[in-house]
Amino acid sequence: MAPTKVRLIVNSRACEVEAAPDTPLLYVLRNDLELNGPKFGCGLGECGTCTVLIDGTAARACVIPIEGCVGREIVTLEGLGSRDRPDPVQQAFITEQAAQCGYCLNGMIMTTKALLNINPHPSEAEITQALRYNLCRCGAHVEIMRAALRAAGHIVEICD
């Protein structure tokens, strides 16, 4: 496909990129808009590291072309909050130390955010189900679950 000008709304800002319409959103976010949050993990929508929100719903940016994003609101990890003003979900993950290498962290936070968008107080079972297709290799699952529970308003017990 030939490059064309495509208008996107990312983190509440309108922007225009020149790229082939079938370009995966992930490459445009990372290369044109210089956003680091969404990560390339598999290119097949399997692992969840590239997760962003599209119109508030979790979306795997590695398999969605930009032509499918026109007129939709895209939010990345950067759009949730910053180090100084983190989103409550980001803060919960920092508080619970919910990462080791952190490569999956974007997907875990964005997926938790998407879950809370439709279900502000999910149960532990609902969180487990929602995060089921986000992979983590370091085995940070225990801390990630605690972070998601904290973000969902559960009281997280202190470890002994």
Binding site: R30, A58, I64, Y103, L105, T111, T128, R132, R137, A140
Partner: protein, 1172 residues
């Protein structure tokens, strides 16, 4: 005001690289900030934080004041690769001494300055205070001086009892940046002018030794990617192939499309039978210990026990495929890398470039966790080769498939134990032999470019923890050192995890035979005091009940508990001990399905001094989770000796629902030296789980992973397991042949007459149809806007552009190849270009083509052009269509010649074909039917030409009148039956037809894919009432629809009956890893639709073609973006894997349908046909 002080204090050591330079460990500047340098890197374990604590503690500054620099070759000391849990235990030692040396210097200088004895000084965050409250800061003591201190070995260190920072759970310093998307990873580096590269790897997937390595490339056809925008270069050196483009997505396209010819891969050792493969691999025995008289003891054993334990190939499975950026200049080379061994990588790059190491700087950034090895070094070398080729910075990102295929695998291992019991139940002897086929996996580019000969090296690494922790009287341990079989290197718990699996399974077997509780039996042979303490503490924490005899368990789901212990001994033999670790694992085994759940793990560890207890806890938990995953589900699969696991379905790792509950017990040993904690808790894992499975089932499993198939096989012996089919839903279905309501009955006479015409046609080859004179291109302004708009709708209804537009070509300019059973026909240019399109066509010429299938010049058109349908269109509609086409911009594009076999290449024969199969005349409504039905009939039968694809064709390529809408083929996709012959489990209704044609999706049938997706997209131009009419017409060929409630109930029933609860086959695992995220019922909503596979027509069809097509090619151009997109799996799954997946999906989601046959062949056929 005085200017800022410029001085600094450094603690250094002479570099041992012969350069005469020095390595810096600590630098304190006059502003009081502290920078510490360490040659190891943070692989995600949090050592950056722990090292900061060590420095802050020893230097008596606040933790926040310390910045840790890791891994940059121009800044940090060369301390080797970050492996073997060494960082805290070994690499941090000089850092701690350097901090102590600086503190010692500063405090003595302060004593002078303040004129008080050192002993009377206190320090708080770098401020030294005397008893008289006079104080001086580190910065003031340094002033403008440049102070360089040598690292002293004998410097006094702080007493551990006085620690205030070390031993505290300090939050990780890296997480806020990671949680908010700051630049952290090597993947995030953007250098000005940077290009994007991709590599194309050779076909000997994951094999790095043998004469064919670096020697298999035949040719690269650069023209195959010549049209890719912004392509900068194609680079080939030996077997190294790379492409470079301005934009990343274009590099991706170029790598995918580049036509590369390789020599055939020679026959490689099969790895289906690991025991045989490892025994056949040449080896050299190396005795690690020999004690007592093993032969004599075993000869006299009352109960000899020979056992073999087999460990599979496993993957490190980094979440992020490796990435690097290189910037090559003649005078300076910089490489941004996620390497775990920056200095070793620098040596490799120097060799690759024929340059001295000093010219190269490796800048280390964080990367995805690697747990031993990944492709970080490989991709760094790839990027440098590409950057050198174009003289610009190049970023290379490996694909998931490349990372999976080429990462140096954690190697398979084979362990034989010959031992047994004496009559009194004591261990008679222990003869242990381990085979470990791995080496260092040299940086791939060195092999591919021929810089390094592809001769497999033998590393002595199978000996880690090969000596058991038990003090057996008669014992021999032999490591059979051997070269790698496939590319392999160290993986968390290097050889120690498999060796411990054998030690700890075997002692459990001994205890069982001896009739002694397994923990008690171990304690009889365990002499190490700290080990004994740990074992007892873990047994107590878990509430271990001694069990001299295994108790038989009742029921389908049986529970069991297992114990294992290890002191992880790592590094060059005899090595060092890291943290002590012990597990109690609880499992539940479903004897009917073979599923093993690890329900709880009590993991105890003696780590010595814990620098950061939370960090230690996280490492223990991470190890427990990862090693449980390895024990239960992880195994690399091979096809013809090459790696076949290329994505997460073929290589599953543990997911949230499968996690055990973890209880971590950390022994307080803050007075002891700190020990490595990065791997220890993995080491007892598999044995503890196997021992628990034995306790539950009474069956010993000696080969992980403990998949449901393997467990069932073990429980039932070799009795074939029941296929995982579910009871078929009962459904009655009347099937019915529908005739086209508009077909003429052609009897025998008609056929004979037509045949005669065909013969005449053949004879009349010199007498083509009458040519209609060309005209000047009509002026589109003579047509009203309304007519043109109407024509546009009709063009959409007829989907003209779908066939008349080539891939990436101009709309309606033709050139799209259309495969027919008779050969390839190329669609023509129907833009109003006078010379190459239809610009010179008068309306009568256009109408004749549409109604009779005759070109303006008199040639017959092939019936791939569905004029038999278009003939039924009304005069007004054809005129509007003509007006629309003539109003489009002309595009000059000649049509390629058709490629048809004789006699189909003889156009005059088509006159006979027309006589046989063409029924001229416009559509005539059926007065007995409703207006809506008749409208639908007109749209379907005329320009809509639905039955052109959805009806079967006869041997001459004509629609069979007796199979109206009974299903056909389109572009190698099945155009499914639209009548009651539909295979869909829920019959089509008017509403569902409407929904499908309007939105591209029906809840009860699926989404439009393949050639149907652009058709639905086109139909968007039609008003709702036309779509409704089509739906009503099509529905009339189906059984009366179910009531909505009944439909929903049936859907819910089908979905609940086919719900996936277990992954017990390769196909099921592929589904879980690749498909379930978007198709599993009730999952978290993702962008796009969530098509239900239980209801999908394609899974219930008589042929698997559409299912295979959609897996191979995905849905990249859906009818509407609202439906979302499906990725193509053709590069990520082999034919065998797709066949397994397809067979599983059929079995699981259409259990009442027979299995498809020859699926593997269908996959190969459809994959191959897409390449043409």
């Amino acid at each position: 005001m005085r200017s800022q002080r410029q001085g600094s204090l450094s603690v250094v050591r002479a570099a041992n690289d012969g350069s005469g330079g020095f390595e810096t460990f600590i630098k304190i500047t006059a502003d009081g900030s502290v920078t510490a340098y360490n040659g190891h890197v943070d692989l995600g374990t949090g050592i950056r934080t722990a090292l900061g604590q060590i420095v802050a503690e020893e230097l008596d500054v606040s933790f926040a004041r310390v910045v840790i620099v890791l891994g940059d070759t121009s800044l940090v000391p060369n301390q080797g690769a970050t492996i073997a849990s060494e960082t805290i235990q070994i690499t941090a030692v000089p850092l701690r001494k350097a901090a102590a040396r600086a503190r010692q210097f500063l405090i003595s200088r302060a004593a002078e300055r303040l004129e008080v004895p050192s002993a009377d000084l206190t320090i708080e965050d770098g401020l030294i205070r005397g008893k008289d409250n006079r104080s001086v800061s580190y910065g003031e003591l340094i002033g403008d001086e440049t102070i360089r201190l040598d690292l002293a070995e004998d410097v006094p260190l702080k007493a551990t009892g006085s620690y205030t920072i070390v031993g505290q759970s300090v939050p990780r310093v890296d997480l806020p940046a990671k949680a908010t998307g700051e630049l952290v990873y090597v993947h995030d580096i953007r250098v000005p002018g940077m290009l994007h590269g991709r590599v194309v790897r050779p076909p000997y997937a994951g094999v790095d030794a043998g004469p064919f390595v670096g020697n298999s490339l035949i040719a690269v056809d650069e023209d195959s990617v010549g049209d890719i925008p912004g392509l900068v270069a194609v680079v080939t050196i030996g077997d190294f192939v790379g492409v470079i483009a301005e934009r990343e997505e274009n590099a991706v396209k170029a790598a995918a499309r580049l036509s590369v010819s390789w020599k055939a891969v020679p026959t490689l050792p099969e790895l289906d039978d690991l025991d045989a493969a490892l025994r056949a691999n040449p080896s050299t025995p190396r005795t690690l210990i020999e004690k007592g008289n093993v032969e004599g003891a075993l000869a006299g054993a009352a109960k000899p026990m020979r056992r073999t334990y087999t460990w599979p190939y496993q993957m490190h499975a980094s979440m992020g495929p490796s990435c690097a950026v290189a910037d090559y200049h003649e005078d300076r080379i910089r490489v941004w890398s996620g390497t775990q061994n920056p200095h070793i990588l620098r040596s490799d790059l120097a060799l690759l470039m024929d340059r001295p190491e000093g010219d190269i700087e490796v800048i280390r950034l964080e990367a995805a966790g690697c747990y031993g090895r990944n492709c970080a070094d490989d991709v760094s070398a790839d990027a440098l080769l590409l950057s050198r080729a174009v003289g610009r910075p190049v970023r290379v990102q490996l694909t998931r498939e490349q990372e999976h295929t080429w990462e140096p695998k954690g190697t398979a291992q084979l362990i034989d134990v010959n031992g047994g019991l004496d009559a009194d139940g004591t261990v008679a002897g222990y003869d242990f032999a381990t085979r470990y086929p791995s080496n260092g996996a040299p940086t791939l580019a060195l092999l591919l470019t021929g810089k390094l000969a592809p001769i497999p090296a033998v590393y002595e690494m199978g000996d880690r923890t090969a000596i058991p922790p038990y003090d057996y009287d008669h014992m021999r341990v032999v490591a059979h050192d051997m070269p790698p079989i496939v590319r392999a290197s160290w993986f968390r718990g290097v050889s120690a995890l498999p060796n411990t699996f054998a030690h700890e399974s075997y002692i459990d077997e001994l205890a069982t035979e001896a009739g002694v509780d397994p923990i008690e039996y171990r304690l009889r042979y365990l002499k190490d005091k700290r080990a004994i303490d740990l074992v007892n503490a873990v047994a107590e924490r878990a509430g271990w009940t001694p069990r001299p005899v295994r108790e038989e368990k009742e029921g389908d789901v049986v529970h069991g508990r297992g114990f294992a212990y290890a002191l992880y001994v790592h590094s060059k033999f005899p090595g060092y001990g890291a943290a002590w670790s012990a597990w109690v694992a609880d499992v539940a085994v479903d004897k009917t399905t073979g599923e093993v759940s690890v329900t709880r793990v009590v993991a105890g560890q003696d780590s010595g001094l814990m620098i950061n207890p939370d960090g230690v806890r996280h490492q223990i938990q991470g190890n427990v989770i990862q090693s449980t995953s390895r024990a239960l589900m992880e195994e690399v699969s091979f096809e013809r000796g090459t790696v076949a696991t290329r994505e997460w379905g073929a290589y599953p790792i543990i997911k949230f629902p499968d996690l055990p509950k973890i209880d971590v017990l950390m022994l307080p040993r803050q007075d002891q030296p700190p020990l490595g904690v990065g791997e220890s808790a993995s080491v007892p894992s598999a044995a503890a789980i196997a021992n628990a499975i034995f306790d539950a089932t009474g069956v010993r499993f000696r080969e992980p992973p403990f998949t449901p198939e393997r467990i069932l096989k073990g429980l039932r012996g070799d009795v074939p397991t029941k296929p995982e089919t579910l009871p078929p839903p009962t459904m009655s279905r009347s099937s019915k042949i529908w005739r086209s309501p508009f077909s003429r009955r052609s009897g025998v006479f008609a056929r004979i007459a037509a045949l005669c015409t065909a013969v005449i046609g053949l004879g009349a080859a010199v007498l083509p149809g009458r040519a209609i004179a060309p005209i000047a291109r009509p002026d589109p302004s003579v047509y009203s806007a309304a007519t043109i708009a109407r024509g546009e709708q009709l063009a959409a209804l007829g989907n003209c552009a779908v066939c008349h537009t080539a891939m990436d070509g101009a709309v309606n300019a033709g050139g799209r190849p259309i495969e027919t059973p008779f050969g390839t026909i190329y669609s023509t240019n129907i833009t109003p270009d006078v010379e190459t399109g239809i610009g010179g066509w008068s309306y009568p010429a256009f109408e004749r083509a549409m109604r009779e299938g005759i070109h303006r010049d008199g040639r017959h058109l092939y019936p791939a052009f569905p004029f038999t349908h278009f003939a039924k269109a009304s005069e007004a509609d054809l005129q509007a269509l003509y007006a629309y086409l003539m109003a489009q911009a002309p595009v000059r594009a000649s049509t390629p010649h058709n490629k048809l076999a004789f006699p189909f290449n003889l156009r005059p024969l088509l006159a006979g074909w027309n006589a046989l199969f063409h029924q001229a005349g416009v559509f005539k409504p059926n007065p007995s039917k409703s207006e809506l039905w008749n409208r639908g009939a007109y749209l379907v039968e005329s320009l809509g030409h639905c039955s052109a694809c959805h009806s079967p064709r006869n041997a001459l390529g004509a629609e069979r009148a007796d199979g109206y809408l009974a299903g056909g083929l389109a572009d190698r996709w099945e155009a499914p039956p639209l009548t009651s012959l539909s295979h869909a489990p829920i019959p089509w209704s008017e509403d569902e037809f409407y929904s499908y044609l309007r939105t591209g999706e029906s809840r009860f049938h699926g989404v439009a894919a393949g050639p149907m997706a652009p058709i639905v997209k086109d139909l968007a131009a039609l008003p709702d009432h036309d779509i409704r009419a089509i739906a009503a017409y099509l529905a009339s060929f189906n059984e009366p629809a179910l009531e909505p409630d009944a439909q929903q109930a049936l859907a819910a029933k089908l979905e609940s009956e086919t719900r996936v609860v277990l992954a017990s086959s390769t196909g099921a695992r592929l589904y879980q890893g690749a498909c379930a995220v978007c198709h599993e019922l009730g999952g978290l909503p993702l962008f796009g639709s969530r098509p239900s596979l239980a209801l999908n027509s394609n899974l219930h069809s008589a042929i698997p073609d559409n299912l295979i097509q959609v897996i191979l090619h995905g849905i990249t151009q859906p009818a509407s973006s609202d439906l979302g997109y499906m990725p193509a799996f053709q590069d990520a799954m082999s034919d065998d894997q797709i066949a397994e997946l397809v067979a599983y999906l059929r079995r699981q989601f259409a259990p009442d349908k027979p299995q498809w046959r020859d699926v593997r062949d269908a996959v190969s056929r459809l994959r191959a046909s897409a390449l043409h």
